[in-house]
Amino acid sequence: MRGLAIPYHYVLWSFLLILSLIGLIKIRKLSTVSKLIIVYVIISLITEYVAKKFALYYNDNTPVFHVFIPIQILFFSLLYFKVLEIKKHKITYWSLVLAFITLSIVISYNTSLWGFFPSKNFIILCSLVFPLSLLFFKKMISNPVLTILELQPYFWINIGTFVFFTLVFFILGFHASLKLNVPFWIYDILWGANFLMYLSYFIAIILDSHSKFSKNDPIS
């Protein structure tokens, strides 16, 4: 994104701000899942802003991400808890989530918050989100609805999350573990995927705010 005349973070901030405002305006029409997405977008906006300030004042923004990851684990767990309609294994599910959060905090605690990018924590986050998004794809296939797929808000939420976290998992996990000299443009792809994830959330919120598309409950 260094080739862009406008810095990437300004584009992202503007987009997140627009998304948050649209979400807040349409909040009454939105489903619980979309409301959660709005909360996440606002938290992301704050995180991105604080990270930039940290980078400016302390030349290092890694501590922000150490704090952000446990929040992300909690958020995506809540999101998929809602969309997957988990009823039977609530205790197992939340115990697993607690284990992931604890692991992430322990890793952050054992390594210096400063100057150390939480790649492992991201891998922990991805290893939770990746199977959950796959499970949701499976649920969609076994409980289809007659609405066109491209008009289903949950499809966009899941596809955006799935693509982004798959890329994060492979780029951070695979390359970091192989200690390869990753070319810097690979991180541009990651930022692009991040942007695409928010774009898919934007589509989902717009679709969800139209009542005729918001009925996603499968009728078996």
């Binding site: 296939i141 076994s142 289809p144 797929l149 693509v163 492979f170 192989l178 000299n181 990753v182 690979i186």
Partner: protein, 259 residues
């Protein structure tokens, strides 16, 4: 060092391309799979809807048969008894009153006749016994007798080769069309035409009444939606054409079973 960096870049490009390829394949595969399950769901819903409509029609048909039996067995018998009594009384009363009683006996005779035709038209079994065309002819004659409208009935086949259940439903559709004409159309003439064309049975129905707006009528009452639902049950294609003050024209096309 440079060699190692180049190898890393090549590895990155290869794994990256593979990853993107896999993601694309996965998403396309998911979309195809989802569409397949949507089609399955669609057919399942259609099947259930048809079954439900079928059950509804069967219940209605059974109710009509019961009402028909009740009219024929109880009301018909009672009316016949009243008629006999009136005839007996007429012999024992003075001449001056006899005319009134005879008139009442005649009215009772007409009532018995009407009840018999009504009972026959309500009972779908008559189609099995008398045949589809003959039952329709009786209905047409009955309507013509009322003098409200003139029904012209044309038919090329003497026997319609459809399943008995299909014929009963088709008969009910035509009855519904007659009812609509008599109740709302203010028509003077009705044409009912049944023809066979190749492997198809075609029913044409038209009247010269006041017509209606199809969508408004569909939302308003159950008559038109009944016709639509019944056509769906027997896999008949329904074509409606109507404009205000321009009468109505209906075409129902059915595929005949392969012999």
């Amino acid at each position: 060092m440079i060699l190692s960096a180049n190898t890393d870049i090549i590895t990155t490009i290869i794994t990256g391309t593979l990853l993107f390829g896999l993601l694309t394949v996965f998403i396309i595969y998911f979309i195809l799979l989802y569409r397949k399950s949507q089609t399955k769901l669609h057919f399942e819903r259609e099947r259930r809807k048809r079954e439900l409509l079928q059950a509804e029609v069967e219940i209605k048909e059974q109710t009509l048969v019961n009402v028909s039996r009740e009219i024929h067995d109880n009301l018909g018998q009672a009316a016949a008894l009243v008629k006999i009594n009136l005839n007996l009384i007429s012999k024992d009363i003075p001449e001056a009153d006899r005319e009134k009683v005879t008139e009442s006996a005649e009215l009772m005779k007409k009532l018995i006749g009407d009840m018999r035709s009504l009972s026959q038209s309500l009972n779908g079994d008559n189609i099995r016994r008398k045949g589809f065309i003959a039952t329709l002819q009786s209905d047409v004659d009955r309507i013509n007798k009322t003098g409200y409208v003139v029904v012209e009935f044309e038919h090329s086949p003497e026997r319609v080769s459809l399943e008995a259940d299909q014929l009963i439903i088709l008969y009910r559709i035509i009855q519904e069309l007659f009812t609509n004409t008599l109740k709302y159309a203010k028509a003077s003439n009705v044409l009912l035409k049944i023809i066979e064309e190749g492997n198809q049975l075609k029913v044409f129905y038209s009247d010269d009444g006041i017509g209606f707006d199809y969508q408004t009528a569909l939302n308003k009452g159950s008559g038109l939606s009944n016709i639509k639902d019944r056509c769906a049950i027997i896999d008949a294609k329904l074509y409606f054409e109507s404009q205000l003050n321009n009468g109505v024209s209906v075409q129902i096309t059915l595929e005949k079973p392969q012999t």
